[in-house]
Symmetry: C2
Subunit: 405 residues, 2 copies
């Protein structure tokens, strides 16, 4: 079950003027499941995105990047679940292009104005006929107040849908930011998460929008991991419709960035809280490092260690496993006698070993919580990093031993 | 249960002249369990070893490296299970030194002639009094024909003991090589495995012995992974007693190296076959790379992917997960359209996607086997690499969620 995470409340998801969403049950992998999402943008919207660095990136990722680069003004995004269209070679590229061409024909735009996305099983042919057949229904369903259904339509092994809205004031105008995301396995984003879509009705020029989505990804989706597997299909998209009349410029970009990053962080953390089989949500803070890279190395070594993750599943304060992970993280000149390890507020280790003040019952108390912070203070520099992960349970194995069958 | 791995047969383990082994039940963590091993060497033996690169390396690792460097002639090794004496700070260093001093006193040598080793839980104080109290019994038990019991005495979560003997002829003399090792979690050796001891009655000068143990480790223990966690206590030791009268020199070193590497490979593979919760033994061959580093990157990305490992546990040919792991392995200029993926003799993927000839039932047939080879042909160079791993099962989680409790 998701860790301290509730499904979004439909009434709290705010429409974004200039952005409408339509859903269909296209039967891509199973019948009776929302699996097709069309997002239509009014003319004049800007769009930016960050994508997976996986060399086996999916065909839709390649096509989406090409279409964004063509810079013809994006008018629609189309997302299917049930099939990743990754590891599908030239056939997969054709399938992604056909998807764009068919939607463009139905909406009256050009194929280069459509961005495609897929998520699901890898190395199986995309049933493009089913997607095309489902498009008229999704288009008939288009409406601005459809974010809740859209969040449901992009789920795969997710247990709850992920969506959030925030607002701010810019130049006396109310600006809305609404976003959705999906997880929940093959999660170790490297530029973005599996799939995330954030839209605002502010006007933001495309080069600035690209900077803002990268910044938001680096502080949110690029700080999470469930299982260390970087997906072939990761994409985080940021859409600015401009319909609020508020224009983002140097005077207000910081406030706008803060809200976008907050929305991205809520969506990213929700993916971890709903990580496959998760029973614990773990925040890892690495402080006092020489640079961000070494802080992240240590953080991810802890976050990816199956031994650490199973100890958290068991609520067992077998915390020497965290020391071992710090030790093999690859920071060659690390002086382990200088660092301190905390579990929430409990000092666990210092001077290269267990702290004299540490009591097993204090560690046990924290381990029983569902939200836990691991804090490593390196005492060798001024840089801090923070990331989020979950534990490793029987259910992770169960879900992933049976996902396809 | 271990994958196609039987316990060694005591009668097939050959004594090595000049090396005697004694075992005791010292009650270090639990009563009624062999947990203390003393290996006594006759005067004149040479000893070499490779050790973990974990920065949180255990106190005995530090002390063993210091004593080897002192070069006073090693006369004994002492190994305890049940406690790793790692993450134990200055107190742990004192405990390791006390262990050496007490054994030296009992055997009539100097503390620097003793090498200490520990394996078990991290960050708990070593019960050095129990170890010292158990020494007289272990010494009273010293005999050359004791390798079977020695293999049992160093087990932790291992299900079966690991030991093997081989012989060769050098200059008309029969040379024996016998070794033991233990796993079975926190296994991603980086210089050596958790613990491995190999002895021969050939005479090998120390600098050559160090080269030979490094070479053997690189082709055996450094090619295995169970869970990607590099231990704090890894050590592989090679002992040459010289008692056979055969001297290893330029004329015969290749033959000797081959046998030592074979013994090391049997012991290393046994650790994977008995990996925590393992139900499949997986050989990963990465061929046609530009260098060893990129072949290993791809091999370990596959070997460490929880999604690949759980698919193998389920015997589910969800082989797109292997493509995803290849894609995120970090080989930045990899052209995925040029590589081929095979499962045993079945061509699974080429030209960036599923092979036209691939049939699900062929993949299914191979996945049901207990020994499986994944072969990735990169077609970008002349370098090959091979490594071994196991799958990821419910029992891995069970063992590691309950190891300490």
């Amino acid at each position: 079950m998701p860790v301290n995470l509730s499904a979004p409340v439909a009434a709290q998801l705010l429409p974004v003027a200039g952005v409408s969403l339509g859903i269909a049950e296209a039967g891509i992998k199973r019948a009776d499941r929302k699996d097709l999402l069309v997002i239509r943008l009014d003319e004049g919207a800007t769009v930016a995105g960050v994508f997976t660095t996986n060399r086996f990136c999916a065909a839709p990722v390649t096509v989406a990047k090409q279409h964004l680069a063509a810079n013809k003004g994006i008018r629609a995004l189309v997302v299917n679940t049930g099939n990743a269209n990754a590891g599908t070679g030239e056939q997969g590229m054709n399938a992604a292009r056909t998807t764009c061409a068919e939607l463009a024909r139905l909406l009256g735009c050009t194929p280069e104005q459509v961005l495609p996305y897929s998520t699901g099983v890898i190395m199986e042919p995309l049933p493009v006929d089913k997607i095309v057949a489902g498009m008229p229904k999704a288009i008939g369903n288009l409406k601005a107040d459809n974010w809740f259904d859209a969040a449901q339509a992009i789920m795969t092994t997710d247990i709850v849908a992920k969506a959030v809205s925030k607002q701010l004031q810019i130049g006396g105008k109310t600006v809305t930011v609404t976003g959705i995301s999906k997880g929940s396995g093959m999660i170790h984003p490297n530029m973005a998460t599996m799939l995330g879509y954030i839209a605002t009705d502010a006007a933001i020029a495309q080069p600035l929008l690209q900077q803002m989505v990268s910044e938001a990804a680096n502080r949110s989706f690029n700080c999470i991991t469930v299982d260390g597997d970087t997906s072939t299909n990761d994409a985080l998209m940021l859409i600015a419709s401009g319909k609020s009349g508020a224009v983002v410029d140097a005077a207000n970009v910081a406030a706008m960035q803060t809200v976008i990053t907050e929305v991205a962080t809520v969506l990213a953390q929700a993916i971890v809280r709903d990580g496959e089989g998760a029973t614990k949500f773990i925040t890892i803070k690495v402080e006092g490092g020489k640079d961000d890279a070494e802080c992240k190395k240590i953080g991810y070594a802890i976050a990816h260690s199956p031994l650490v993750k199973t100890a958290f599943f068991a609520s067992d304060p077998n915390l020497g496993r965290i020391l071992a992970a710090i030790g093999y993280a690859g920071v060659g000149d690390l002086d382990v006698t200088r660092l301190k390890l905390y579990l929430d507020d409990v000092l666990v280790a210092e001077n290269g070993g267990r702290a004299v003040s540490y009591q097993e019952e204090d560690g046990q108390r924290v381990m029983k919580q569902s939200d836990i912070t691991i804090r490593v203070v390196l005492n060798r520099g001024a840089v801090n990093a923070m990331l989020w992960t979950c534990d490793f349970s029987y259910d992770y194995v169960k879900i992933n031993a049976s996902y396809r069958s």
